[in-house]
Amino acid sequence: MDFINAILVLLNYTIVPALTYGSQLALGAIFVTLIYGILRFANFATGDMMSFGTMFAVLLTYYFQSLGINLGIFPTALITIPFATFMMILYMLSIDKFVFEYYRIKKSPPVQLAMVSVGVMFVTQAIIRIIIGPADRTFLDGQKFILKASEFKEMTGLSEGLTIKSTQAITLVVTMIVVSIMFWFLNRTKTGTSMRAYSDNEDLALLSGIDPKRVVLITWIIAGILATIGGILYGLDKSYKPFVYFNNMLPIFAAAIVGGIGNPFGAFLGGYVIAFSEIFLTYAYKKFFTYILPEALEPNSMIQLLSTDYKFAVSFSILVIVLLFRPSGIFKGKTL
């Protein structure tokens, strides 16, 4: 019985949150990796672009709520996904048209494009703050929990409860759907193949008649979908605050590089690697060990490897270690 309780503690406080957070990071990381693989630059506006899409979801949620439209037990934000994604894609395409296209045609070095993306980051942040302000907002409605700790305890008679928030379930389901459609698209359709070809060798791809404009357009569309959905899921699970989204860029970058930048599947797994290591290294295992060890050996300290203040530092350290020993990432980068 104690053993099951111990497992439940782990599930409740580490595995389920890590899976959720990992999915949110994974979506962002695939976004970074796509832009890096096909458009060939590190996009420093990543976090703010995700924030931009989420902002529309927040505003539309408020609007729908005022109209009385809702999805019952599901959050209203789910209906807003198509609209927010549309706005996001529109914004990305216009940014590409007015800013990035010029450098792409001139074949500027990636560093210059990265610098330009810093400019885009500033502008996007300004637009977001002017429209919605820097405040912390929650836009989650509908049913909050699928499984409450108290209900679970009653059901099973165990002393440890299991809580599953509806946002956690939604995050996992939506991520799985989006990611599998995306991989199907990249690997099985003709357009997807042409994108991979373009990423592998631009000159050869052009030679075989692939239209670069179309590839870029589709890349931005997929990027827009990933960014918006990733942002909305994060916002539903935690809350929407522009500054936090900007900061999220850092673990997302870490996930993309750990997974091998340019490799979407690597980025997907990288998100979970980062999330799991962040949470496992900063979780206090005291409760877990009190269940699993005999009473004499019970720990009296927190058994925490690192304080939770260092959550971000963990992912960055992993990144630095990966860069040192395997700069191409765990799953070999640069093959889309």
């Binding site: 990265a114 330009v116 500033f122 942040q125 703050r129 302000g133 630095v320």
Partner: protein, 456 residues
Amino acid sequence: MKQYTNVITAYLIMFMLIILVGIFQSWSLALTILNYCLISAVMTIGANIQWGYAGLINFGIMGYTALGGLAVVLVSVAPVGEAWRVGGLNIMICLGVIIGMVFSIRFSLKKIEKSKKRNYLIAAIIVIGILLLRLISAPAIESIEAVEPAKTGFLGGLGLPVLFSWIAGAFLAAGLAFVVGKIALGLRADYLAIATLLIAEIVVSIIKHEDWLARGVKNVIGLKRPAPYEINLQQTPWFIDLVEKFHSGKLALINSVSEKQEVLNQLVINASSIYVKLCFTGLFLTVVVILLIVTQKALYSPWGRMMRAIRDNEEAAGAMGKNVVKQHLLIFILGSAIVGIAGAMMVTNDGLFTPGSYRPMRYTFVIWVMVIVGGTGNNFGAILGGFFVWFLWVEAAPIALFIINLFTSHLPETNEIRVHLINSAPYFRFLMIGIGLLVIMRFRPQGILPEKIIKN
């Protein structure tokens, strides 16, 4: 002379702008802006050495700035005797353990052949070292932080004059740059950018959360100053005389004695704050001028030519027998040290150390915008960029407010859009700086004052 006309005009316009602030807003504000411009200029000199001379991307400027700030606390604050008594020894032992770890790892890297066994050995050293550190430091940290937590709760510093901390800041930053450079300089440009950005975050999060070191987010206030305090100045006779002489014409117009005294008091209070700021301006200006002379000399020396050669064609420079790796590391350390000085200057100017305020937006990306807008590879350009972008950063809100009022003047006072826009005026600074950067990168990629190569 002709080749300098651009530089001179650009600087004249910049000073005109600051003087305009003095006339229309206040002289005190103008001097505050000027001081921060000078600090930004030091930062841009540092960033320009790395990016302009050598083409190295360092997105970790925030980390070095924070270390410079930390140096001010560690050097100038008086030591907290009680804290040293309860935990100083353990902290010192920890330092010893860290040094021991580093040396034993270096030793095993050098002496033992590359093998699985060596990897296990290094891993074991690290794990045992961390466990030892946890065991030794945990009680010490707890007892140090318990010493008057509202006022101290940290080890304090050395109690030396604050100006020493500027040098100490340079050394701290250089030390970090050495480690970072060893780790990350081999990476490709954009990887290097991301790696340095993340390492800076790690540094700041350590400073934020290790309360025994510098009180963390509880901030250290009331730091020493290299300039007199306003309160003392207001009671010094020579200063009051000076103010009286300076404003004698204005004071002569007032007849009643008591009224005269009141006006004089007000003038003395204003003048004291301006005097203190002028002291800082003098100090900062000295630093900027010294750095400018040194970097200019370096740029046109054989060493500077070699750096440009490395930047423009690494392979060719390597083939000519230049040690690219070593030079990259050297320039990375030099640039970071200069940024460290700027960090220390800034904390000295503010008189307080607030680790929570170090954010990549303000301390990394804005500095980069300064370098790129001003002119990469040109020290005068970089400094001008520091001045101009900082000026815009401060004055963007008033400018935005003015423009908003202009365009919405036909709307009623209570119009929702107008109120919303006026409330979000501070955020227009991001917009202006972002658009400024994009425009410069598109139409004048070398910056306002481009790099000039003088051939003699």
